[in-house]
Subunit: 296 residues, 2 copies
């Protein structure tokens, strides 16, 4: 499989759907819709929504049934980036090679744009559950699971620990927990969303959860490696930010080489979790390999 | 009806449920759970969740079926207060007589606490829809409606217009639209949530929507009147903030006396919208009268 080509095709479908779902820039109040579109349509990899589609595929579901939910999860991811970049948080000026939201629209609108992206994310998840091919009870289950993954047991909790770890210092256990909450939780929620809305069995869900958990860890480790050893022209952000901010990372604690080994092991585990699936899970397998070699 | 006593009893039930739903302060990361509890359990009037319960009552439903959703809506209201108070937004130091979240926990944690409250709000709405007495499809409908009311067509959009109106100047039409989005949208969503989850008819929903819309307008007008003529020992915040921030308000545009007349007319309309309901809507009627005389 030419993973980059397949991912690009999935990203194209997701971008088209997002463009349809997002309010137009001329709809008043225009500035908030401009800010929402600026951050949501800024050329991300669309890895999380692609995992929603990939998990649906893996259990025999269709992209059509889960595309709305995939967009909802991507908007929730986008909100977290906008808020993480704020001056009071990571205070980043660049994201995906462009000035961050608060640099363009000011802090107040950036905060509100994040709030609106999170809210619209849940609206799309609710709409996904009302599709004729989905059981409404499954739709509600997905919303509750994504909310838990995005809340203080997941992304928000991980971000708090990430900020506070600079004050507290850290251990290998702590960095693993931060990565789990900050990144892996939404990866798990992404594959589970695609699978649940496609009527997956409990066994399939358990396997996909293991996959998502290890994939999310690998993704965050390689993210931190790229922050040290990446090419800014490809990553769209300058290197060395984590060290300057004294963030807890695998390469920071264990060194680059050992961090690469951790990522490799996590990817092997992720692929191993898919053993009971046939070729329908090939996209998910290729996504795991991609994590190891990605340059952006 | 002794409205204050009935509201206090509803607030007690809501506070108890919130206390059960909110993560404990000792659950790590503790600081975010402290911040969430600080803002969510700070002695608000609980008017919006009480309206959820009141609307359920009005259409013959039970409090038990809607209490979880009522808590979800209250958390979404709380998130909006935490973010509105931020330095980049209204920059307020006091809320309900206590220092605002960012004053106590710092800006980063306050932003994240707001994010977590919004997320937990949707989690509770999803849980509300999975109750045995509720149809899952109605649960999804409520989530979508609350999301629209909280998003750029509602609260977020109103807040953006509120901030920008200071730059743009304003007209009576603009202030009406800001009030509609910033405040009335969530009032409408509150009564509709209670009614939908209780199996209300389309006719009942339409009447309750009219009620909520006019009630929300009256509430925002009296809020702005209290900002000028209120007693800080009762409102929990100092007066004159709106004028200092050059906010668009009814008393600012029309004067105190005319603003009081607008509020009175809106309350009459709200009560009139309930004509087809019997005594089961007495709480909603009394809530409308309370808006006119409230001192906090």
């Amino acid at each position: 499989m030419d993973f980059n080509a397949v991912l690009a095709e999935k990203a194209r479908i997701i971008d088209q759907a997002l463009d349809r779902y997002l309010p137009h820039e001329t709809t008043p109040p225009g500035i908030i819709h401009q800010a929402i579109r600026y951050s949501a349509l800024s050329g991300g990899k669309r890895l999380r929504p692609a995992l929603v589609l990939g998990a649906a595929e893996a259990v025999g579901g269709s992209a059509e049934n889960v595309i709305t939910a995939a967009c909802g999860i991507e908007l929730i991811h986008c909100y977290s980036l906008v808020h993480d970049d704020l001056p009071a948080m990571d205070n980043d000026d660049l994201r995906r090679g462009k000035p961050t939201s608060h640099k363009v629209f000011g802090e107040a609108v950036a905060i509100l744009a994040g709030d609106a992206l999170l809210t619209l994310g849940f609206e799309l998840l609710a709409r996904a559950g009302t599709s004729a091919a989905v059981s409404p009870a499954d739709g509600l289950r997905v919303i509750a699971e994504v909310a838990v993954a995005a809340g203080t047991e997941g992304m928000v909790g991980g971000q708090v620990m990430d900020i506070k770890s600079q004050e507290a210092g850290g251990s290998p256990e702590l960095v693993a927990e931060i990565h789990q909450k900050k990144t892996a939780a939404l990866f798990v929620a992404s594959v589970r969303t695609g699978a649940i809305l496609s009527g997956a069995s409990g066994q399939q869900l358990a396997a996909l959860s293991r996959y998502g958990k290890r994939l999310g860890l690998a993704f965050q480790i390689t993210d931190d490696i790229l922050d040290i050893a990446g090419d800014p022209s490809k990553t769209g952000k300058s290197t060395g930010g984590d060290a300057r901010k004294r963030k807890l990372t695998y390469p920071g604690i264990f060194g680059l080489s050992a961090a690469r080994e951790y990522a490799k092991k996590a990817v092997e585990d992720a692929v191993g979790a898919l053993d009971s699936f046939g070729p329908s899970a090939d996209f998910l397998r290729a996504a795991a390999q991609f994590i190891l070699t990605r340059q952006f």
